[in-house]
């Protein structure tokens, strides 16, 4: 099994296969959403997801049932605010930050480390909510995630949630799940800066600056996918 999570604080995703018979199996997905801290000219900005598309590439197997539109049970860590969250994260590890202008040194925690953190998150979970995801059909089926209206970005997680069942043909088969995003799916907020007074920005300048920052600082990490997992 291979997993690539380019911005694991932002999205950590893994998929698992469950099957009793040889010909049929289910696909379960685990995902954890939160924000990622990026160093920005001596200040900091946070990047998080407002949505994205989870796409499946199937080799030698066929979808037999598909989660079309369903409430997902979603655990959400108690909101502690970005500033407090930043303080905690800095205490945990300084290595979990992007450094501007260098090679993309994104957080690369191992799966085991991540499991510990996921467990810790579950322990501090204070509420459960439900969200809907909408299905995408076509040659690369999948699901579209979006924030609820009041949310700035996606936070929280769901664990081993069954999304689809498959029929596999004899021989080798493979499922690749890719979480794909565009700039419109990325939330950017400058939380510390010595250079810019972003809070005074008008609407148009903020929009164009977000696109510019995405293109210069973040795009390479999100193209062609943000997270990928294979079974």
């Amino acid at each position: 099994m291979a997993e690539i999570n380019k911005c694991p604080d932002c999205l950590f995703m893994s998929i698992k296969k469950y099957g009793s018979g040889r010909a049929r199996f289910s696909l379960a997905i685990t995902a954890h959403f939160d924000y990622q801290v990026i160093d920005f000219f001596g200040g900091k900005l946070i990047m998080a997801l407002r949505g994205g598309d989870l796409r499946l590439d199937l080799v030698n197997c066929e979808l037999t049932s598909f989660l079309v539109y369903k409430d997902l049970t979603w655990s959400v860590e108690k909101s502690i605010g970005v500033t407090e969250g930043l303080r905690r994260r800095q205490q945990q590890s300084d290595a979990r930050q992007l450094v501007l202008g260098t090679a993309p040194a994104l957080d690369s925690k191992s799966g085991a480390e991540r499991e510990v953190e996921t467990h810790r998150t579950q322990q501090t979970t204070s509420s459960f909510t439900s969200r809907t995801v909408s299905a995408i059909r076509g040659p690369r089926p999948g699901w579209r995630f979006r924030t609820e209206t009041q949310e700035k970005y996606l936070t929280g997680s769901f664990e081993n949630t069954k999304f689809a069942t498959f029929h596999n043909n004899p021989g080798y088969h493979k499922i690749t799940a890719s979480f794909e995003v565009h700039q419109k799916n990325i939330y950017i907020e400058i939380v510390e800066s010595n250079f810019f007074r972003f809070r005074e920005l008008d609407f148009s300048k903020k929009k164009i600056l977000d696109i510019f920052l995405y293109r210069t600082l973040i795009k390479k990490q999100t193209i062609p996918f943000l997270s990928k997992s294979e079974v």
Binding site: H182, S204, K207, I208, I211
Partner: protein
């Protein structure tokens, strides 16, 4: 590789721009609109009276944007979300809208845009220019006339509407005073008076008095007649 100083300079150009029009800011940032705007969030931005050429806005979130009187050429809006956006008075050439979401859009339909049936049904309002009239549609209303004036004169729709309305008001006002309105080559508006009449009700046979009235008339000029007859 982009140097840090280049990033700071570009960001400062956006922040310090005196003009907050979207196109100006995009240019100030140094981004290439033919490729850097794919899948971006540009919802709510205004492109009014701008000229956008070659912009690739595929998959972009353009909800609530205003493209009023915008000149759009060789652009791509494929798979973009245009919900609630305004294209009134825009001129659109060689531009594609494949599977774009058009719910609640205000749009002028031009013959070079191949909208799907679903897209057309989703439009909040569609204005068809006169050369696009279907055979069954045999009249031009004030709205369409306004749009035609706007297109010919480069006046905004609001200004064109005022011009059209003032022209009608001036003609009506002159006729009300009993004056003739002669427009050389087009025709003459005048008022004829009809005397009171006595007629019989065809069902009962009883006599009825019909009041006298002022009747507006229009007599076409020679140039107009010639134009209609080739």
């Amino acid at each position: 590789m982009i140097l840090d100083q280049d990033i700071i300079d570009s960001a400062l150009r956006i922040l310090n721009s005196n003009d907050d029009h979207a196109v100006t800011l995009i240019r100030a940032s140094g981004m290439d609109p033919t490729k850097d705007l794919v899948g971006t969030d540009m919802g709510g931005l205004r492109f009014d009276d701008e000229e956008i050429y070659g912009f690739d806005l595929t998959h972009a979130d353009l909800r609530g944007c205003s493209f009023t009187n915008c000149h759009i050429t060789h652009c791509k809006f494929d798979y973009a979300d245009l919900s609630g956006s305004q294209f009134t008075g825009a001129t659109i050439k060689s531009t594609s809208f494949i599977e774009a979401e058009t719910k609640g859009c205000y749009f002028d339909i031009h013959h070079y845009i191949n909208f799907s049936e679903k897209q057309l049904n989703d439009f909040a309002r569609v204005i068809k220019p006169s050369d696009e009239l279907e055979p069954s549609q045999t009249y031009i209303g004030k709205t369409l006339l306004t749009k035609m004036v706007s297109e010919q004169t480069e006046l905004t729709l609001g200004d064109a509407k005022r011009v059209v309305e003032m022209t009608f008001d001036a003609i009506a006002g002159a006729l009300k005073k009993g004056d003739e309105v002669r427009i050389h080559g087009f025709g003459t508006f005048s008022v004829a008076s009809r005397n009171p009449l006595v007629r019989r009700n065809p069902r009962t046979g009883e006599p009825m008095m019909i009041q006298g009235a002022a009747l507006p008339k229009f007599k076409a000029g020679r140039a107009l007649k010639d134009a209609l007859n080739g």
